[in-house]
Symmetry: C2
DNA sequence: TCCTGGATAATTTGATCAAATTTCTTGCCG
DNA sequence: CGGCAAGAAATTTGATCAAATTATCCAGGA
């Protein structure tokens, strides 16, 4: 049941669960995804699982292998370049649009989410970090009220998701600037361009980490 | 069977057919899309139709109506703004990337496609125009070999598709510049930036037409 | 190396159940 | 007496499942 007392259909729940598995690093790149394997794991029938897989394939989160198998895509140099370019095009714009509608309450929520991010980093908690980081970015983007751009951003994150688990290892050790803090500072000052720039640099930083891991043959 | 001798599954064929119906103006904005209605029309079982609908919903080509029905989305000012911005961000970049890999053979094919576009315009043939125009843009973009950006572009075109049928009426009458011709000129000269700019203006021109129709309450 | 079963998994169908919409009825009020 | 509205039945449509079908892969043998 959802908040309106309506029953949420099984295929929606199944989709959300599988999506989160991809987004938050439960599924490794290259891992095969079978319908029958997931019916057991997600406790659903074939039809809902099937639909979830198809939806995620349409969003680029899973790749069909020609011979009617589906797997979690491997990250490649070429794909990373495209992801980086597209994210740098879309997400700073979402941040810019969001700026106009930010309320003090929202900024407080974003601050709390950033605290969660830092706590997770401190604790070396990968799943917690990925969740909090995703929540930080998307509650900000949500404020832009631009569903078309949001869908694109979500698809781009889904494509990047499985690779991020391998980046975590390298990342307590680095003295990188905290760009979420800079973003929050810009929000409080109402500076749209500074916010947009901070988000852009945050994206760039993440992409650089993945690129580094990729060049070291981590995948 | 496809070119490798493999059988194409029904749900792929069904998806392609329904997608083209949306892309090429067969389905009107606001029109409800029912599974059982399509099983008859597309000559397929429930499951393939169901999957096609889900995939297209995930791509933004169809919208769920809350009460588990699905329909072709209405165009709004807000969505058009986002579509315009995103298309102007993505597609000129695809054109730029494509430039480096264009061969004389490809340019010849694109020239032929543009002839088709103009012939369809001359004949007032809406379906032919939409098909040829789509083919022109996407065979160009295909050359960029950037599947991530291609998927985004495809999704954006799907969202715009149903609205384009209503724009055709107004458009023999206008002395608009032929931007495909300019694009082809840039390709022949190997000028990436000029190509990118021509594509951008082509997009802008199309968006302006839709915006005009929208402001006149055509939807 | 090529061919031939056999195993595994995806595809598809048809049936069944549940939800939502529409239609029809019925009773009340003007 | 006529119209309107509320509620109930019927119809339409979506969701889910399980069985039957079909394709692909892999191993073993010619």
């Amino acid at each position: 049941m959802d908040e309106d007392g309506r029953k949420i259909p099984t295929h929606e729940v199944t989709y959300a669960r599988l999506r989160d598995m991809i987004l938050f690093g439960v599924l490794a790149p290259g891992q095969p995804v079978t319908i029958q394997g997931l019916t057991a794991e997600l406790d659903a029938g074939m039809t809902p699982v099937r639909e979830a897989i198809r939806r995620l394939t349409a969003e680029g989160a899973l790749t069909p292998q020609g011979n009617r198998r589906v797997s979690v895509p491997q990250m490649t140099e070429a794909v990373l370049d495209q992801l980086a370019w597209a994210r740098l095009a879309i997400e700073p714009q979402l941040a810019r649009l969001a700026m106009r509608r930010l309320t003090p309450g929202l900024i407080a929520r974003l601050t709390a989410l950033d605290d969660e991010v830092n706590a997770a980093i401190g604790a070396g908690n990968l799943a917690g970090y990925l969740r909090a980081n995703h929540a930080f970015h998307f509650t900000l983007y949500e404020a832009a009220e631009a569903p078309v751009l949001m869908d694109i951003a979500q698809s781009l994150w889904l494509r990047a998701g499985p690779s991020l688990r391998l980046v975590m290892g390298r990342f307590g050790s680095s003295g990188l600037p905290d760009l979420h803090a800079e973003a929050l500072e810009a929000m409080r000052g109402g500076e749209g361009e500074a916010l947009s720039a901070a988000i852009a640099r945050d994206i760039q930083q993440g992409v650089d980490q993945v690129r580094l891991a990729l060049s070291e043959g981590a995948f």
